[in-house]
Structure formats: C-alpha cells, structure tokens
C-alpha cells in the first residue's frame, strides 16, 4: 500500500554513523535530480575517509573533459584509471564520471551508512567540496526507494 510509505520533505535530518559506533545528526537535502548521494569533505573527515579525497585528487591524472569526449574519457576511467586508483587508495569504493550542471566532474566514492527516518541505509556516496553549499549532505534518488517525496514539505532554506 502506497499509504504506508513515509513521505519525505525536501529537507530531512539524517543520522550519520561514525566508526566509533557513535553518530552525528546533519540536515540533508533531498534531491530527485541527483542519482547518488554526495557528502561534504567535513563529513568525510568525521567518518575517517578524508584521505580518500586527498589522495584521489593527488593521484588523478589531469584530464580535460568536455561534452564531446565524455564517452571516451569514461571508457578510459573505467578500464584503466579506476582499477589503478583502487589498488593505491584504501577504502576507495568506486570512481565515477558525472555530467553535472556545472560541467563534467570525476568523483571518488566511498561506503557511507546513515539513517533516513526509519531506514538504515548502507550505501555509497561521493565526496565533494560542498563548503559553499547550504547542506553538507545531498541524498540522491538511489537512496529514496521506498519513500515518497512531497515537494511542498520542508522546503529548502534559501540562505
């Protein structure tokens, strides 16, 4: 029954599990336009995975990606760069290239577990510098299955 599904607003508080069995609460942005969840560097530091972000950007070869050579670069990343980086960086789960609105970006993914309402989600998240953005965590639609979203509920903060 669809009635029993929990209805999320656009802003939800989540509990992020830390390695020391404690947790922190953070406000997250529910965004149906995003596929996967993204976390800020500050969260990565808390869960002890900041080194992934640091090493990733140190080791990643310089690539100029445009919308034209996107598919070629993606093939290169999947076949060569990803296996190499995974060997070099512990806890790096995946490397993905995403065509975002602000241009194409290559992002490191790590394992990430948190609680959204009544559901514990053991999922993956990309580490991004979200310092200038309002929410340290963005929940993508991959983590929203089983929920319903009401776009008029808990609307985003504007400043």
């Amino acid at each position: 029954m669809s009635h029993q599904k929990i209805i999320l607003g656009l802003e939800e508080e989540i509990k992020i599990f830390l390695p020391n069995k404690k947790f922190i609460r953070r406000k997250a942005k529910i965004d149906t336009g995003a596929r996967t969840t993204a976390i800020d560097i500050s969260i990565a530091k808390k869960i002890g995975l900041y080194h992934v972000y640091e090493q990733f950007h140190a080791l990643l070869p310089k690539l100029t990606v445009t919308h034209n050579n996107f598919k070629k670069i993606r093939k290169l990343i999947n076949q060569e760069i990803k296996p190499q980086l995974k060997k070099q960086i512990p806890n790096l789960y995946d490397v993905q290239i995403t065509p975002a609105t602000n241009g194409v970006s290559i992002r490191p993914y790590v394992k990430f577990s948190y609680r959204l309402r009544n559901k514990r989600l053991n999922t993956i998240a990309s580490i991004v510098d979200r310092k200038i953005l309002l929410y340290p965590v963005l929940v993508g639609k991959r983590d929203m299955t089983g929920f319903l979203i009401d776009p008029t509920k808990n609307v985003y903060r504007t400043a």
């Binding site: 241009g103 953005l133 299955t145 009401d150 776009p151």
Partner: protein, 456 residues
C-alpha cells in the same frame, strides 16, 4: 430513488409555483438582465441591443468594444451566439476558432436573429451585445475552448441541487449537455465536484478531451455562487427555477440566465432524486437568503466526501508539452526538486516554436556565467532590457549553479503532467546543459508526490 420526470416537474412544481409572468420574464434575457441589475446582482454588461431592421441599419458598430458576445434574446441551447475576441488590422472582427467576420457578415447574422432563426418556435427576436466573459484559472484544465457554467436548482429559496457543465470538443465548446457537454455533480456543502456524466459516454471520471480528473475540483466562490442564485430566483419571482452562473476571471460569479423549466438530467450526475429533495423543502418558510443557504447545506450536502488521492509520479515522466502553436508534443522529462522553475534546453525551446523569441534575445549580450556578488544586479538589469523585446519573453532570472550564476530567460509554457494541465513560466538553459530536454522544477510539482522507486 424516485426520479423526477418531465410531467411531474410541470404538474407538481412548475405550474403551482411559477407564475406566468415570472416564466415569461425568465425567457426574456434582456428583461431578466434589467431585473437582476435592479436587485444589484452581477450580470454581464450590456453594450447594446437591436430589435428592428431600422435599428440595425442605424446601429453604430464603432461604439462596440473589441471583445463582446452577440446573442439572440430568446435563444435555445446556445444557438446563434457569436463571440468576438477583437479586431484585426483590416478592421474585421475575430471570432472563435480564428474565424473572421466583416461588419457586413455580422449585420447578416443580426438580421437572422431578428427573423427568429434561433428563437423558440421561430418568432421574431431581438439581438443584443454583452460583455465577453473570460475563463477562470481553476477551470482551464477541464474546459474545451468555451466557458463552463454552474446550474443551481432553487426551490422555495433553498438551493436543492447543483451541477457544473463543461464544454467539450463534441459540444463544440458549448456548455450544453444535449449536444455532448459534460455534466458534473456538485456537493452543496463544500462546492466540490462529485460524479460526471456525458450524454454519449455515460458515467465518466475523466474529461473526454483532456483526460483530467473531474471529481474533487473545488469551485471557487462557492457560497457566493449559491447566495447569488437564491437572490436571482427571488428577483425574477420564480418559485422553482434553475439559475445559470458563470465564474468570470475578473468579475467572479455572474448570472447568465434564469430558467423556469430547468432540465432534469442534473439528477444523474448527483446520484440523487430531485423529487425527494423538492418535497423536503416544499413547506418550509424561508425568510432570508442566509436561512435558505444554511438549510440547503444542512439537508443536501454530503459531509463525508471521499478525499481525492494525491497523484504519485516517478522521477522520470512522459509529459505532453504544448508548442507555441498549441500542438501537443510528447517528451520524457525529469522531475528535479532542486530546481525551482521548470527549465528546458534551448534546442527543445526551438523545437517548440520559440525561435523568434530567442532570435529577439540574441541582440542582448548575455554572459555565460556571473559571479555571485553581481547576480542580483545583473538580473534586474536584464529584466529591464528584455521588457517589450518579444511577447514570449516574460521574465529573466539568475539561477545559482554551485558558486556561480547563469542567466536564463523565461517563456510561457503549458504542459500536462499526471493528468493535470500546468501553465507556467519556464526558463531556457541557453547553454543546453541539462540532462533532459525538459526538467520540471518543484514550483510545478505542488499537489504531487514523487516515488523515486517508480520506474515506469
């Protein structure tokens, strides 16, 4: 359930309660209009009338405003009505369906009305010009071309039953049930629609042309509609009558006409017997409009209406978008809550026929990105520049993407999402950098729930 038939209606209710004088007055639309004005009730403004050939040939057509409705005084079923929307450059009148009329053609039409071509039993008639009413926003998604009207049956100053009548393609944009319009029952307490019925389709739940839901629509100004209906009945002096009310965009409820022999198909769409209801209010003594209204709501309103379920959408939806020329086009769109306004790519905007607006915009030098500090100033500046540049360029906005801003012009856009017709101002991404040609923003997602697990 005892359905009220035509004979019972005439013998038990029309004859005893409607005097000959009042029925005669109701049939004469001009006289009804004068009577309603005397009682300060809202009606469409009268611009002029023609009752003889001499008047017709001396009539000054330049006194008419650009938009008006030409009607026969004792017309039946909407026949002989001509709606004029404006004048073109040649000075011809523009009618509905992009039909044009020269003044000579209108004179011929008035002449036909005077001959009684459209009147009851073809007796000579009067033609009159009145204000053209406009469709209010709430009914846009359920009316094909014309304007819907609300029929309220009043007996002994108590609203007994109500019905919303919708124009369809079959009825050629007329809110007339006999030629294929859709009738929708209305709950008297809340003014929300209940069951729908069309002559050629039987019981229906969706509008035959737009596939929009017909139940659960809340009629605006409902108490005002009922109050005006009661007072119109009292003004005309009918004991038992049907009042037709139109909701105008600017004027609100306006009395269109008053009927001494109201139709009986209203019983089908309300799933109720008119006879039972009429007999219940027959012997009451009603002294004021407020009392009539209160009794009606208490006796005939259903208090436990089923709640209309909120439609659930997936993240990706197939949407019907209307082009600048109002042709439907199917497109796969993404529902993105992080965007406020619905946005489309430049390429898709061109495909929809907004090329001329974009060409007009090309004269303005718009930078690809703007620093956050300058965003507000730039937005205001461009808004000033695009004013009057092109009729489709309605606004311009600065949209934040990470720490920078991009400038996006806005155009009017109509699309159908989850059986609801949405009219909005959509932004154009000039750099074409969107994951889908159409991205629906959260402003247009009110009234929906999104299920991210829904894949179809």
């Amino acid at each position: 359930m005892r359905i009220l038939g035509m004979n019972a209606r005439n013998l038990l209710f029309v004859r005893p309660y409607n005097t000959g004088r009042s029925v005669k007055l109701a049939r004469n639309k001009l006289a009804t209009k004068r009577r309603l004005l005397k009682f300060n009730l809202p009606t469409a403004k009268l611009y002029g009338s023609i009752s003889s050939r001499r008047e017709l040939f001396s009539f000054d057509w330049s006194t008419l405003p650009n938009g008006f409705a030409l009607k026969p005084n004792s017309g039946l079923g909407g026949n002989g009505i001509v709606i004029i929307y404006g004048k073109n450059k040649q000075g011809d009148w523009i009618g509905s369906g992009e039909k044009t009329y020269t003044t000579k053609q209108l004179i011929t039409h008035v002449s036909n009305i005077l001959d009684g071509n459209f009147s009851i039993s073809n007796v000579p008639d009067t033609a009159y010009f009145e204000e053209r009413l406009t469709l209010c926003e709430e009914f846009k998604a359920i009316s094909y071309k014309g304007i819907p009207d609300i029929r309220v049956i009043i007996f002994n100053s108590v609203p007994v039953m109500a019905e919303l009548r919708l124009p369809t393609k079959q009825s050629e944009g007329k809110a007339n049930l006999a030629i294929g319009g859709v009738g929708v029952g209305v709950d008297l307490t809340t003014g929300t629609t209940t069951f729908a019925h069309a002559k050629h389709l039987g019981e229906i739940t969706l509008h035959p042309d737009y596939q929009t839901a017909l139940s659960g629509i809340k009629i605006p100004h409902w108490n005002e509609v009922l109050r005006i209906a009661i007072e119109a009945q009292r003004a005309v002096g009918l004991g038992f009558g049907g009042i037709d009310i139109v909701l105008d965009k600017k004027l609100g409820p306006v009395v269109l006409e008053v009927n001494g022999h109201p139709g009986l198909e209203i019983q089908n769409v309300n799933h109720a017997s008119l006879r039972d209801r009429l007999e219940r209010v027959k012997d009451l003594s009603i002294t004021s409009t407020a009392k009539g209204l209160a009794i009606s709501k208490e006796l005939f309103g259903t208090h436990d209406l089923p709640e209309r379920a909120t439609p659930i959408l997936g993240v990706f939806e197939t949407v019907q978008v209307f082009t600048a020329a109002n042709e439907p086009q199917i497109v796969r769109a993404i529902l993105d809550t992080s965007l406020a306004s619905t946005t489309l790519t430049k390429d898709f905007a061109i495909k929809l026929g907004f090329q001329s607006a974009l060409t007009a915009l090309a004269t303005v030098a718009i930078p690809s990105t703007i620093q956050a500090a300058d965003a507000q100033q730039a937005e205001a500046g461009f808004r000033e520049i695009i004013k009057g540049l092109h009729k489709d360029l309605v606004d311009i906005v600065a949209v934040r993407i990470d720490n920078r801003y991009v400038i996006r012009p806005k155009i009017p856009l109509t699309f159908k999402l989850g059986q609801q017709l949405i009219t909005t101002e959509a932004a154009i991404a000039l750099d074409n950098k969107l994951s889908h040609p159409l991205v629906i923003g959260r402003k247009n997602l009110t009234g929906f729930l999104i299920n991210p697990g829904k894949t179809k």
